[in-house]
């Protein structure tokens, strides 16, 4: 493996746990947007229920990923030194702040738990997630052509 690539300190048996954990909030937030849209179109509370659980799970797993990410940044100077960390950090922070609001809005009852503020927040979150991931990957590719591949191998180990 490329020895210049900084290895995240937060890992279990060699697996970089931040990288694994972070896929959960991304998937949960995206799912919540889908179920928000379904509720807005049907007014069927089952979709609002799904949204509330997805958003709660997104915050829980997002919090775990954040903890792992903090360990990575604090424990490894080289991770911290990489310029591409900061767009990801700011994007992630925004996502978690909006996610907190989105959870609270979704704790209301019935229609206004989603329309319009909840739906707007869920959409904003997913847009920020996409932008953040886009910036993150593009920086990875420019900085280190082998980084994405190294990550994939890390997951397969």
């Amino acid at each position: 493996m490329n020895s210049d690539n900084p290895r995240p300190p937060a890992r279990i048996a060699g697996h970089p746990i931040t990288h694994i954990l972070v896929s959960f909030p991304i998937a949960f937030f995206s799912g919540a947007l889908a179920t928000d849209i379904a509720y807005a179109q049907t007014a069927d509370m089952i979709w609002a229920d799904f949204s509330a659980w997805l958003l709660a799970a997104a915050m829980f797993t997002g919090g775990l990923a954040a903890l792992a990410g903090i360990v990575d940044v604090i424990a490894n100077r080289r991770v911290r030194a990489r310029r591409s960390v900061w767009p990801l950090a700011i994007g992630s922070l925004l996502v978690l702040i909006l996610g907190l609001f989105d959870n609270l809005v979704h704790s209301r009852d019935a229609w206004t738990s989603i329309v319009p503020v909840g739906l707007a927040l869920s959409a904003a979150i997913v847009i920020i997630v996409l932008i953040t991931a886009w910036l993150g990957f593009s920086t990875v590719t420019v900085d280190r052509p082998d980084a994405a591949e190294a990550y994939s191998e890390g997951v397969r180990q």
Partner: protein, 452 residues
């Protein structure tokens, strides 16, 4: 991929706490709740929250000798203590008093993360605990007319979240949360072991959000009227869960057949007959989470076929923004309730002073038991109030009659629930947190009794 989250997390956590604190605290509430008592309550604009205003009264119970406070001319005593979550009281023709000890069915599933939080909140303030002896009816008898019962027996045991009781002839009806039961009763009995007959099943589970079923018989004894509360705050469990709920049912006593007598009543309790007009009256718990001063709970006469707004609107045509699809056709015919009691006081008991056992100023008026608020910063309710009546309608401002359920620190000694009159016309109050039944009598009458 990279570490997506950084050491800004502690700052996020701080921000989160600050946001919660701000959202929860809100501005100082200088709203005068008395502007929401009467036929024309002031209704502010609805508000929606990230974190609804909430204040709970921690339970401290009653120490020996402690009692609620009563107005001058009245006297209060504990009729029975050490009960298990008494929710309602009923006086039999021979003067025996039935105390319905009841706990919620606790079958509401966790549908959303919010249910977990609200479950904790409710367990904190109901004081139901693990009352193993509850879900029964206890009989109290005062053989010597001393004002203190000397007989106390388990009258009916193994009920399912009972609340309403009504006796017609030798048929004793008990409203469990899921059925009206009929028991054979003979005057003077202190215990019924005969099996119950189901007269009419009622909407119980699943969910059973509002579970108390208030019960009253028509004055001619041919019908029963039963209050069936909604299965949600404001339809968040879906409209299918609300079928035949938020309504008062009329049940034919002979056949058990039922029809919807009136609807749009979110959680109707205290069903009783107004003595002058002979109209059916009820107290209703209105919806939460639109602000500390919305929506006022109320008492109202109930018209046959009347629709009172829930869930689509409140106090007539005030639309609730949380309900979709709306029903303009129903909103248009929503009846404005007769008398607002102010917001979140949670009225669960209603009785008219028909026996003249209390000072004359109360004659013919209504007593309302207010269980007390959780959905506002400043506690409201936690008392029994009196509303004078004239010509079959409320006529004047509500006044406090029994207070002191809260101490000066906002702790709850007890919480009043349902009310009744005993045979002498004294007011009985079920206190489900203080586990006591209180008897409020005329101070002069009590003195006379003591000197006998």
């Amino acid at each position: 991929m990279r570490p997506v989250i950084t050491n800004l997390m502690p700052r996020l956590a701080l921000a989160g706490v600050a946001i919660l604190a701000l959202a929860g605290a809100g501005p100082a509430d200088d709203f005068d709740v008395r502007t929401q008592i009467g036929p024309h309550p002031v209704l502010p604009e609805p508000q929606q929250y990230l974190f609804p205003p909430m204040r709970l009264a921690p339970i401290v119970g009653w120490k020996t000798g402690e009692t609620p406070k009563v107005e001058s001319g009245l006297r209060v005593q504990a009729l029975a203590t050490g009960l298990e979550h008494p929710r309602s009281v009923y006086t039999l023709p021979n003067g025996d008093i039935l105390v319905v000890e009841s706990r919620g069915p606790a079958i509401e599933p966790v549908r959303r993360p919010k249910n977990i939080v609200m479950g904790l909140v409710e367990s904190f303030v109901t004081g139901a605990g693990q009352a193993t002896g509850s879900n029964r009816i206890t009989l109290l008898r005062d053989t010597h007319g001393s004002g203190t019962p000397d007989v106390r027996t388990v009258f009916i045991d193994h009920l399912f979240s009972p609340f309403g009781v009504a006796l017609v002839g030798n048929d004793l009806y008990v409203a469990d949360t899921d059925a009206i039961l009929r028991f054979p009763y003979t005057t003077g009995e202190t215990s019924i072991t005969a099996p119950a007959t189901v007269l009419t099943p009622l909407p119980g589970g699943p969910i059973d959000h509002h579970w108390t079923k208030s019960l009253v018989a028509s004055e001619d004894g041919t019908k029963l009227y039963v209050g069936v509360g909604s299965n949600s705050n404001i339809t968040e469990n879906g409209m299918a869960a609300e079928i035949d709920r938020a309504a008062i049912w009329e049940v034919d006593r002979a056949t058990g057949a039922h029809r919807i007598f009136a609807s749009g009543l979110r959680n109707p309790n205290g069903l009783t007959w107004e003595p002058q007009s002979h109209a059916l009256w009820t107290v209703v718990n209105e919806r939460d989470e639109l602000g500390p001063n919305l929506v006022p709970d109320y008492m109202t006469s109930v018209k046959d076929g009347g629709f009172y707004g829930w869930p689509y609107s409140y106090f007539g045509q005030h639309i609730d923004p949380r309900v979709v699809p709306q029903r303009p056709d129903l909103v248009a015919k929503a009846i404005v309730p007769d008398y607002a009691l102010s917001s979140h006081v949670a009225p669960l008991g209603l009785v008219f002073d028909t026996l003249n056992g209390l000072p004359a100023r109360y004659s013919g008026g209504a007593f309302v038991g207010e269980h007390g608020s959780w959905d506002r910063q400043i506690l409201n309710g936690y008392k029994v109030v009196f509303i004078p009546f004239s010509g079959g309608m409320p006529n004047g401002m509500a006044e406090d009659v029994v207070t002191g359920f809260l101490d000066s620190d906002g702790h709850a000694h007890g919480r009043p629930v349902a009310l009744a009159l005993d045979k002498t016309g004294a007011l009985l109050i079920a206190d489900d947190v203080g586990n006591t039944v209180w008897r409020v009598s005329s101070a002069t009458g009590a003195q006379a009794a003591n000197t006998q």
